[in-house]
Subunit: 151 residues, 2 copies
DNA sequence: CCTTTAAATTTACATCTGTCACCTTTCAAC
DNA sequence: GTTGAAAGGTGACAGATGTAAATTTAAAGG
């Protein structure tokens, strides 16, 4: 599965992708109805988004006769990972930990998820540093306190 | 500290915020130079962004005589949390776990971060469900496989 | 074949974003 | 006071986004 790092998927396009990913494959009518339900979008809106997604290479159109079939080209897992990476890449490295903590606290996770995370953490603990450096500003600035970042 | 949920902070504005958060407080000159270093932006660009941030209520201008001082109004922690929440809110709940796993694998975390995460997980395990339901489409659709979501 | 009608494609357009150049006000030194 | 360099503020503009109307095309029934 290709990932979606190259061409950016926007917020509303993302909603469409979610539907497509979940449906696995769909006809434009099905998709339009779903989007109308979920977002209250007009037919046109969904069509436009679908086309943009096709142009971006995120969705494929297949079939020869009219009710074409659309299916995802980029993977959901890959796209989600890319989105998450993108987010954290723009945040202070020093605070990634507590941000992740916040996410974990507020999301629903399955027993399996938790087990996996714990395994990863245990492994990571073996080589984790005592402190993560702030990567917000070049040299001359180095964050001191975790609580109040700068100042 | 107020959070930044109301007024959205865009990508480039975020870069400015990072600098301001780290510096704690700054004069426009300092900020402009920093942004020029980090992003290669022209003076104007930083000024514009700084102003937009002020209008959005994310940064405060203080002082009476000319070299004014700017400082953050919205907190870094809060803003990061909001951004993360925002991201995960748009993703399939069923896949949040593995996405978090991916993030943890690729980020640098301190021993303390890891310990905190483990504590949270242990606590969470007590009440975690066996399976998390997909929340992408209304009723009629329910994801079966974790590996290949729909289809 | 012709018509109807769903599907597909184009065009539209207001806003938001990223980036700036340029104009205006001050402070500070003559 | 006058002036010139900073600091501060405005206007601009191309491209991205969200949202949708209008137009074209083709499948299906008569």
């Amino acid at each position: 599965m290709k990932d979606a790092k190259n061409e950016t998927i926007t917020d509303s396009e993302w909603e469409v992708m979610r539907a497509i990913w979940t449906m696995g494959q769909t006809t434009s009518r099905e998709l339009i109805d779903a989007m109308n339900q979920l977002q209250g979008w007009s037919d046109s809106t969904t069509k436009t988004l679908l086309h943009r997604l096709i142009n971006k290479g995120a969705v494929a159109q297949s079939g020869t006769s009219r009710p074409f079939v659309f299916k995802p080209i980029v993977g959901e897992k890959e796209s989600m990972a890319a989105a998450a990476t993108d987010l954290f890449d723009h945040m202070c490295a020093m605070r990634a930990g507590s941000t992740i903590a916040g996410v974990i606290k507020t999301r629903e996770l399955s027993q399996a998820d938790i087990a996996e995370l714990q395994a990863i953490l245990t492994e990571k603990a073996k080589t984790a540093p005592e402190q993560v450096q702030c990567n917000c500003l070049p040299g001359h600035h180095m964050c001191e306190e975790v609580e109040e970042h700068g100042q």
